[in-house]
Assembly symmetry: C2
Homo-oligomer: 407 residues x 2
């Protein structure tokens, strides 16, 4: 008898019919002999409505503890309704709010972190043959106030629950059937990945494959929680996110991600002297602007250099203003900022043991006359920056090149 945590997002519990469908699914798993603990989000749209009210009435610097009290009510409703729907199927079930589980967090309201949690009440519920339904996204602070886990919090609370219970698997039900080798809306030959490692999933998630939030993947990796991403609208197996040694035939490249959230800044004619990088990136860091890919080219005259780097597209104008106001200190001649770029990343733990992956990438893009504007690499990832208009062409080319196409 396996113990499975099933997590259902907002679109999966959007209305009473969907909640009943979720109950059907949970009931099937239970009747197949598994122990099931459930984690639910608020009905799609509810959280946004509540956040709107908080902001409208609380102003810009609203009290995050009250935000949490208000916003957490959305999951409270769906947890209760789902418990009722399970009972209507003749199953024993009950709702647990974050403070009842209890799922203990720190007191960083609005973005709390789950702390070691013994979830004693939930375990007792399972031992009694019940299906505990945990309101997702929420916990309780050391001084007994409701907390929410912030962005991606309901995936995270499901994984935390699975870790605390020592569950055999944590199923994340969503509106896609799994993790794909790349975006299937762009590359029709994209394949659903059967198994992917935590590290690869982390890279995919942080690069725009929005099926799982980064924080929840990191938590799953830390606690070795086996994750499955699957659709609550169909009935087929999804993608398993597991430890590397659970994957027998590792592909060299597992997936290709892309991000349109990038912008490129080039400073031309920067005086080439020690400490200039710190002078450029210090003020940006102070303004909380993340800088990603950095390329410094050697100048023709030997006295000046061009520096290219990327920032979040939303930060481009702020970055521009900050750099301009420091122009005399930095001593650059001209600044060029543009948002029409895309970052494309090939990802695979197999890269660790295979050389030449980057070379294959550069050659394939060169064959298509796609110019690479910046490069950055990690142990299991190669990212390049190209002109945005080549997004589709580059993705399709690389997908074929690395043998990922559906056959």
């Amino acid at each position: 008898m396996a113990l499975v945590v099933q997590k259902f997002g907002g679109t999966s519990v959007a209305d009473l019919d969907r909640i009943r469908a979720v109950a059907d699914r949970v009931a099937r798993a239970r009747r197949n002999g598994d122990q099931v603990a459930v984690n639910v989000s608020a009905m799609a749209g509810t959280t946004n409505q509540l956040v709107e009210w908080v902001q409208a009435i609380g102003g810009v610097h609203y009290d995050r503890a009250e935000y949490d009290a208000v916003v957490s009510s959305g999951e409270q409703v769906t947890a209760g309704l789902l418990a009722l729907a399970l009972q209507a199927q003749g199953l024993s079930a009950r709702s647990f709010l974050g403070w009842q589980a209890p799922l203990s967090t720190d007191d960083a309201h609005g973005k709390a972190r789950v702390e070691a949690s013994d979830v004693a009440s939930l375990r007792k519920s399972l031992d009694q043959g019940q299906i505990p339904v945990l309101a997702g996204f929420q916990g309780v602070s050391p001084d007994g106030r409701i907390t929410t886990l912030g962005r991606g919090g309901s995936d995270t609370s499901a994984v935390a629950l699975a870790a605390a219970l020592g569950a055999d698997r944590c199923d994340i039900f969503t509106d896609v059937e799994g993790v794909y080798t790349t975006d299937p809306r762009i590359v029709q030959k994209a394949r659903k990945i059967e198994r992917i490692t935590y590290e690869e999933m982390l890279e995919m998630a942080s690069l725009g494959a929005r099926v799982l939030e980064t924080r929840s993947v990191a938590l799953a990796m830390r606690h070795a929680v086996r994750l499955q991403v699957l659709s609550s609208f169909t009935d087929v197996p999804g993608t398993l996110v597991v430890d590397e040694d659970e994957i027998l035939e590792q592909q060299v490249v597992s997936g290709i991600a892309y991000s349109r959230d990038e912008a490129k800044v080039t400073l031309i004619g920067v005086s080439d002297q020690p400490g200039i990088a710190a002078s450029i990136f210090g003020p940006l860091a102070d303004a909380n602007i993340n800088v990603d890919m950095i390329v410094q080219s050697v100048s023709a005259d030997g006295n000046t250099t061009d520096v290219t780097f990327t920032v979040g597209r939303a930060d481009l104008e702020r970055a521009r203003t900050i750099l301009e106001s420091n122009q005399s200190d930095l001593g650059f001649r001209r600044m060029d900022g543009r948002g029409d770029v895309v970052k494309i990343s090939v990802i695979g733990v197999g890269m660790r043991s295979h050389a030449g992956i980057a070379h294959v990438m550069f050659k394939a893009l060169a064959d298509r006359d796609i110019n690479i504007q910046a490069i950055s690499t990690s142990e299991i990832k190669i990212s390049i920056l190209i002109d945005e208009v080549y997004t589709e062409l580059a993705l399709r080319t690389l997908h074929t090149t690395y043998g990922l196409d559906e056959t």
Copy 2:
């Protein structure tokens, strides 16, 4: 410095603008030097929506513990939003849910009773100069689950809060300006009552003056909590509900209530023998049908009698069926049931020391040719049953007769 509990119902917090107006009102009281604890209902309409969902998904015999988890979320939202609105005014405020106060109840989910509660967290909040905002209508059961207090529960939780805190007054804000000598929609000369005793208010409340729920008045009486009923839409003093010795010049009659929820049943030709009353009312009691006024008339022949009594109008058809099916046992000749009656009650603690109140009533109605069909009395109340068409005439006549008209 007085300690006041202010309670705001659903229409008073129906939207963000109304919540801001409530915050204004609380802020004024606080700035006048009073300590204030607030108790809020859910936004008007929210509770109905949640109850509908519970019934739709949980079926007829839904789990009342889950009902409570779902339905209590409405007050959670308004408590948080009101705390935010108070903070936006520069005041220190925080929300408390039932389990946080804590407001301890028994485990009768859906209609829980408040038990002795020390509300330690709330007291601490007040001591720190904060305005605690308690989510009304809810508490926490001995085993840590959310309970709701059922019908009239938010008035009750406000009074329980005031009792637990030893508050100087509990202000119940609603959509009327107070308790009136009679229904001002019918009698234009009805006056707002300045002070009324708990006993009188209990009679008024149980007889259709729906400004306060009976349970909350009984609780206030038991704990000697001074209540004020007033409007959250205007800025004038309301009606104080207090102990008899706080009222210096007691009127003989304080108010006149009426109820259209009555129906009259007459059994004609019942054999006049011992035990017949038990035979009639036993089956009705078994079916949970309340019988109120009972009149037994002497028959002409000495062998049979006519028995008249009232039941709730909603129960008339059920009562009729039950009695008909027992006709042979009861041995009545004919049954007459009609719903077109009204019960009118004059209420006043002064009746205890004044004779002749009933006589004045009967004479005034006789002068108007209004026939009295049944009479019942208590220490502080005389109720009569008349034909419904005379409701307005009787109310106006009695209002003038007892000197209650606005001058």
